[in-house]
């Protein structure tokens, strides 16, 4: 099979376009994890929690472990009026787990960081 110059250019252009599409949709490999524990633990907790813009599925058996892109995420809880209130920031690092416990009996729920990095109990930024 012989490829003319025009065909070769066409092929190259097609590969570049497709390559661009693949790169655009290719997921980030830089991921970490967020472990959210709820207290009190229940078979299913409908706490109305959001990680940035995404609403979390009901949490089963008092905990969920979620794969997330690295960076800082905002954990928010739905208030009684249906609005969202930020309860803490969660720093996700590459291939590490950041653990946060959410006390769901309080309104709005309260975050308890496993580590804050600063040691200050008023610090609402959870780190791994």
């Amino acid at each position: 099979m012989t490829l003319t110059k025009a065909h070769a250019v066409g092929l190259l252009a097609a590969v570049m376009v497709v390559g661009g599409i693949v790169v655009a949709f290719w997921p980030s490999r830089d991921v970490g994890y967020v472990q959210i524990n709820t207290v009190p633990a229940a078979p299913i907790t409908q706490a109305g929690l959001y990680l940035d813009a995404t609403k979390l599925a009901p949490i089963r058996q008092g905990g969920t472990l979620l794969r997330q892109p690295i960076g800082t995420l905002k954990l928010q809880a739905e208030t009684l009026s249906g609005e969202r209130a930020a309860i803490c920031d969660i720093v996700v690092k590459r291939n590490r787990i950041t653990t946060v416990t959410v006390s769901v009996l309080e309104r709005p729920p309260r975050c308890l960081c496993r580590f804050t990095g600063s040691g200050d109990p008023k610090d609402h930024t959870c780190v791994s």
Partner: protein, 240 residues
């Protein structure tokens, strides 16, 4: 001559078409991989992928959610011994390292390997997501069968029994995956806390103590890796 040129053109078009199709399919799979969450999304819409563990199931023709879960689980089980071997090799590399920097680099690599496994079984990972979908499908089937009028009573009962058996097997597999998730998470946490401790020791110029921590860590990794291998190998995919 003209006809040979036409054949050549047609072949080239076919080749370009095949490349385009393959690449677009790949792009579609990657996109689909991150959109397989349950109704509420489970915080999985953040464009995070999984280094290829889930792609095989997505590329096949649509099967029932239970079949998909079973297949994905089997694929995951098949990938575990190889990844576990890599973990054991990394543990050996850490153990033999006399240089702390090399040992830390090996721990970092090991965290990557454990993270790959954890990604598959995290709550918003592909295997867990398919498990949720499979269970939702079974519950919907049982609900429909309860009102089904097309079949004789014994036929209906037979179908209900079969779906209930699948439900029990799927719930069991999901529970065992949950146990594996906890153990992977525990292993990753052990690695990160040990790494942090080693960093602190290095800062304090306590190299000997750091080496001792590294040696202890490798023993723990080997034990955890062997336990996980057994645990994941023993999970029975539903309907298998």
């Amino acid at each position: 001559m003209t006809s040979s040129a036409a054949v050549s053109r047609a072949k080239n078009r076919l080749l370009i078409g095949a490349i385009l199709t393959a690449a677009l399919t790949l792009a579609g799979q990657v996109y689909a991989e991150d959109n397989t969450g349950p109704g509420t999304g489970a915080a999985n819409g953040n464009g995070v992928g999984l280094n290829g563990l889930s792609s095989s199931v997505i590329s096949r023709a649509p099967a029932s959610p239970v079949e998909e879960f079973s297949k994905q689980l089997e694929d995951f089980q098949k990938s575990v011994p190889d990844l576990n071997k890599e973990i054991q090799d990394s543990a050996a590399a850490i153990d033999s390292a006399t240089d702390i920097d090399k040992a830390r680099a090996a721990i970092d690599q090991l965290r990557g390997q454990v993270s790959t496994l954890l990604a598959a079984v995290s709550d918003n990972g592909p295997v867990s997501q398919l498990g949720f979908k499979a269970l939702a499908h079974i519950r919907a089937k049982l609900k429909i069968l309860a009102q089904e009028q097309r079949f004789k009573l014994e036929e209906r009962q037979f179908l209900v029994d079969q779906w209930q058996r699948l439900q029990a097997e799927t719930e069991n597999a999901a529970k065992e995956l949950g146990d594996a998730r906890s153990q992977f998470a525990g292993l990753l946490q052990t690695l990160q806390s040990n790494e942090d401790f080693i960093d602190e020791l290095v800062e304090l110029r306590q190299a000997e103590k750091a080496i001792e921590v590294i040696k202890n860590l490798t023993r723990n990794i080997r034990d955890a890796s062997a336990r996980l291998n057994r645990l994941i190998g023993s999970i029975k995919p539903p309907g298998a």
